[in-house]
């Protein structure tokens, strides 16, 4: 009995091919052209999922992207995707979907017990129920809530698909390809403008795909086909079906997502991007996004089989399926009669129309009469019966004021209830554009009023109700938009639509029932996705949540994957009624992108995996790899961390490397140091203002260490800068900060001191830097440096010589970050690898050892040299580090100087740099970041004196060492303090921060 609810003929489906799919493990069949929702209906499957909070049985309520409850988990494994709307999943062969939020199964869900406990699940129940004792939230409440409430499951495997981004400029972008959108596109395209027409559905046509209306005297579908034929002939028209315009940003920046291969299922080609994010800068935008029908709020209005009136017509007409066997319509407006009777005439019997209005419109009554459908005016559905499907409705007459009910109850058996509370224009994109809304009390909805950006809203999104008017308005908007974008062509005749007036509406925000709303056993759902009832909203209002934004957050109405597309107006109106205010005064919540959920993949595009962040490698990288180096990432650079030999642990390798540098000679790839070439007649003056020390008298060929501060006095970068000529300097910066330092220099040159003639150029990647360090480094270098005199007299510490090293033009800097005799060789990057290998060769006899950043860190920490970003964190002034010696007293001004005398920076008890030694076990290495306290234990809050900034085992000294920033640290030298860890406290002694060669004799030798 496959597809027993499929109508014998009709529909935009292809009956020549059968598609097989499974839902909750059961096999079903459908046709190309079906959505998962229509295919489920065709097979009589009405129970689709369980609700968020109460685990109530839920079915499909709509036929579009506004679907709140028909959510499924699609596919399994790496392809699985949670919370997809069954109404938007195009059926493909082999599709497999399951219910969400149901355990152990959708038919028997233990969570349904929540329904019986609904008295505690009232508005704000999270806040009211899960209070104290402290610690219960993280450990007990939250895990339980997360298991019980919630939707689908996130995939556990990497995404197997690829995604793309596309950037385009458009003259006119049209969101929505219903009749209005197509009419606008035709008018714009005929001027020669670049037009982009996007629609979230697989087929263009919108309501014409199911309404049976005619345009220009042609059946709707024929008119669509003709219009699309014409659009395709325009060279500059881009037609994008399956594309959701999800974001409207400043200056007509439009974000869309195109689902390119979802409709092919997991077997889709992996060479084609699955989703493509479109970034469009449009000169003009036309919003033709249509409208969403609103549910009626009545007792137990959420049972499977209760759906929107228009959706009933869509299923019978477009998909040729019956949502059930017998239907009843509950409405407050004339237009719904048309939807329901079209459905009735299409083969899905409608037994009765329950109209809450005492006097339905004449046209509506005539429609009902012609179809011989009973109308019950002035009546309300007080409740429904059934569980996994609706099996009947209970109807009572309303009192003349429409607020109460009277008389007896009449049960009407049915398995389908259509409901319509009127229409809400989809003004999401307009609202995102910054446009202001006005409330239209006749149509009971918000409509565009004040435009902020260059856009127009047309058709039912604009509250235009008669088809002919929609088409005329849209064609005019398309034409004018193109003209404003610079395209001058005479307007042609707009398509002619039908002139039937959809009739009137009488608001009835909560249908009267046999109990006051919120009391008694029936639930009047407003937000079907978040299980928010009219009673919840009324309770929240009574509790003082009168602002719509507060109400939303307190009750969760309008949240979730549907963002309240069907529920917002009903919720607002109930709040307004409860607080005795008018709807426009209550206002509406802000619409934010995205319009519907967007995959992370499409947002990331190709920027994933190894493309998520650039990787920078030095010219010697392959050599390091060949030596089996372990790498660490420093500001996108891959730097050798240490070079383990066979069987060595990291600590053993670092110990070996450290001792090699201290006792013989080591080799470090320092290419990643930032290098900035600074030239110009005012270069020395500029450095004098940027650095804290004096620069004007630095001799040519001399090097100087400098500290840079921000205006607030806090250390920002450091490095050695060398004077290459009278007007020429080469600055080095820390590896991770090179770009920021260059920006900093540029900012001052351009904005504060444009009178200075100075030019800065980044040359980081132009040079390879090889640092040779250790007592034997002079002997190694001598073998390569030809006639350069390396004697201490000719080439003293902190000076530079240019010459040739191993055949490469080189600058040799005698500077040291290890405390050892040391030379930094800079050669053009192309020579880097060759020179590196030449140095290795020359050093062989001396036991030259390549060392990585970890050894570099240990060696500099032994010397008490700081690393910016490790000993500093943006709150440290030079004086805190005991670096007063580098802060000029003579210079009247430099960046940061004035701040050193601010009361806060001039305090004597600031955190200061000191050394720490462990007292009990000299080998114990403190964790970096460990807090330092006076006592080992204390009653909270224990005052924190500071923290460990650097900590290593020093193989040179044979014990551990640490640097720390400690409050008033200089005057604590000699004291014992504590580093409290999770289970114990380590006793530490405060010492001077220089552990090795405090007089600096080794580097000077």
């Amino acid at each position: 009995m496959s597809q027993s609810f499929r109508l014998a003929d009709g529909g935009r489906i292809d009956r020549s091919r059968v598609l097989h799919f499974t839902f909750n493990g059961q096999n079903y069949e459908g046709y190309p052209g079906d959505t998962l929702a229509s295919a489920l209906f065709a097979n009589g499957v009405r129970l689709v999922g369980r609700s968020f909070k109460y685990h109530r049985p839920r079915g499909i309520m709509t036929a579009g992207s506004e679907e709140p409850s028909g959510l499924v988990q699609l596919e399994t494994g790496a392809h699985t995707e949670p919370n997809l709307r069954a109404t938007q999943i195009e059926l493909y062969d082999g599709l497999s979907a399951t219910s969400i939020n149901a355990w152990p199964s959708v038919d028997f869900d233990i969570g349904e017990i929540n329904s019986l406990l609904s008295r505690i699940f009232v508005a704000g129940f999270y806040y009211k129920t899960f209070m104290g004792p402290a610690g219960f939230w993280n450990k007990i409440y939250e895990p339980i809530i997360r298991r019980a409430a919630g939707l689908g499951r996130a995939p556990e495997y990497p995404d197997p698909d690829i995604y793309d981004h596309q950037y385009v400029h458009a003259d006119v972008l049209i969101a929505g390809a219903g009749p209005a959108g197509i009419a606008a596109a035709l008018a714009a395209a005929r001027t020669g403008a670049r037009v982009v027409l996007a629609d979230e559905q697989s087929e263009f046509g919108g309501s014409l795909l199911h309404s049976g209306e005619s345009v220009d005297g042609l059946p709707g579908s024929d008119w669509i086909a003709g219009a699309l034929d014409e659009l395709r002939q325009h060279e500059d028209v881009t037609l994008l079906p399956r594309t959701t315009v999800f974001g409207y940003y400043d200056n007509n920046y439009i974000a869309m997502v195109e689902r390119r291969t979802d409709h092919l299922g997991p077997l889709r080609p992996k060479t084609v991007s699955r989703h493509r994010a479109w970034h469009v800068r449009a000169k003009r935008v036309v919003i033709a996004t249509g409208a969403h029908e609103r549910p009626m709020v009545f007792g137990d209005n959420d049972r499977p089989g209760i759906l929107l009136a228009e959706a009933g017509r869509v299923y019978t007409s477009r998909y040729a399926v019956k949502p059930g066997e017998r239907a009843v319509l509950f409405t407050n407006n004339d237009n719904a009669y048309r939807s329901a009777i079209d459905m009735h005439l299409g083969g899905m019997p409608l037994d009765a129309i329950v109209d809450i209005r005492a006097r339905p419109g004449a046209q509506a009554l005539a429609w009902a009469d012609s179809a011989d459908v009973e109308v019950l005016p002035g009546s309300s559905i007080i409740g429904t019966a059934g569980r996994k499907s609706v099996i009947g409705v209970d109807v009572m007459a309303t009192t003349p004021d429409g607020i109460g009910i009277s008389g007896g109850v009449r049960r009407i058996d049915c398995d389908t209830v259509l409901m319509s509370g009127g229409w809400t224009p989809a003004i999401h994109l307009f609202s995102q554009s910054g446009g202001k809304l006005r409330y239209d009390s006749e149509q009971t909805c918000f409509l565009p009023e004040t435009f902020v950006q260059a856009c127009r809203v047309v058709g039912s999104a604009n509250g235009t109700r008669v088809s002919a008017d929609c088409l005329a308005e849209a064609a005019e908007a398309g034409h004018i938009s193109a003209r404003e974008a610079g395209f001058r062509a005479r307007a042609r005749k707009a398509p002619k639509g039908e002139t039937v007036d959809p009739g009137g509406l009488q608001p009835a925000w909560v249908a009267p029932s046999d109990h006051p709303t919120g009391k008694g056993p029936r639930k009047h759902f407003v937000d079907f996705q978040n299980d928010v009832t009219a009673g919840d909203l009324m309770l929240a209002a009574r509790e003082g949540f009168h602002s719509v934004e507060h109400l939303k957050r307190y009750t969760t109405t309008g949240m979730g994957t549907d963002q309240g597309k069907t529920s917002n107006i009903n919720a607002l109106a109930i709040l307004a009624r409860e607080v005795n205010n008018e709807i426009p005064k209550v206002g509406t919540t802000t619409f934010r992108p995205p319009y519907t959920p967007v995959s992370y993949g499409s947002l990331a595009g190709r920027n994933v995996g190894h493309l998520s962040d650039p990787v920078r490698k030095t010219p010697m990288h392959d050599w390091h790899e060949g030596q089996g180096a372990a790498f660490e990432i420093v500001g996108q650079w891959l730097r050798p961390w240490y070079y383990p030999q066979a069987g060595e642990t990291m600590q053993q390798a670092v110990n070996r490397e450290c001792l090699a540098v201290r006792n013989a000679v080591g080799l470090l790839d320092a290419t990643t140091l930032g290098k900035i070439d600074i030239q110009g007649p005012d270069a020395a003056e500029f450095l004098n203002r940027i650095y804290t020390n004096a620069w004007k008298k630095l001799g040519i060929g001399r090097c100087r260490y400098g500290l840079m501060c921000h205006e607030d006095g806090m250390i920002f970068d450091d490095g050695v800068t060398t004077r290459l000529g009278e007007n020429h300097f080469i600055m080095t910066t820390t590896s991770g900060n090179a770009a920021q330092v260059l920006d900093w220099l540029e900012e001052y040159l351009q904005t504060e001191w444009p009178d200075l003639k100075v030019y800065c150029t980044s040359v980081t990647e132009q040079f390879a830097t090889i640092s040779i360090a250790g007592p034997k480094s002079r002997e190694v270098l001598q073998k390569l440096s030809g006639d350069i005199d390396l004697s201490a007299e000719a080439f003293p510490f902190m000076s530079m010589q240019a010459g040739e090293i191993a055949g490469a033009p080189a600058r040799i800097f005698r500077i040291s970050f290890t405390g050892e005799l040391s030379y930094e060789i800079n050669v053009p990057a192309f020579y880097g690898r060759a020179v590196w290998q030449a140095v290795m060769q020359a050093g062989k006899a001396f036991g030259i050892t390549p060392y990585g950043t970890e050894t570099m860190h240990v060696l500099r920490a032994e010397k008490g040299f700081i690393i910016v970003g490790q000993e500093t964190d943006g709150t440290v002034v030079p004086q805190d580090l005991g670096m007063d010696w580098i802060v000029s007293k003579q210079k009247p001004d430099f960046i940061g100087k004035r701040s050193f005398s601010r009361p806060d920076t001039a305090r004597s008890d600031r955190k200061q740099l000191v050394g720490l030694l462990t007292v009990a076990d000299g080998n114990e290495v403190l964790p970096e970041g460990a807090q330092i306290t006076e006592a080992a234990k204390g009653v909270p809050p224990v005052p924190m004196l500071g923290h460990v900034t650097s900590s290593y085992y020093s193989p040179t000294l044979g014990h551990s060492i640490a640097l720390a920033l400690i409050k008033d640290g200089r005057s604590r030298i000699g004291e014992e303090l504590h580093a409290p860890l999770e289970s114990r406290a380590i006793r530490v002694r405060v010492v001077e921060p220089v552990f090795f060669d405090p007089k600096g004799e080794r580097a000077n030798g």
């Binding site: 940003y249 920046y253 351009q750």
Partner: protein
Amino acid sequence: MFVIHCPWCGDRPETEFHYGGEAHIARPEKPEELTDQQWADFLFMRTNPKGWHRERWSHSSGCRRWFNVMRNTHTNEIAGSYRIGEMPDLPDGSGPAKGAKA
């Protein structure tokens, strides 16, 4: 994402630029003569208006030039941009933007 007019390169998307805070706060010529209060005002105090704001931008992914923009912080409307050292008369949103001609 709004469009910013770079006085050197023309209209470009916001992502090419870097924001630099309020404009026309000159670094004091003689900081040492300022009181702590005056120096703190220079360092920390900004007008932070809701509405029209002269602010600095840098075309960091373009010509790398700094320049000034008059932007409405509430609506992101831009009345004009101009080079460092200029101070054109820009309408504070009351009339159409004329932009700065250097």
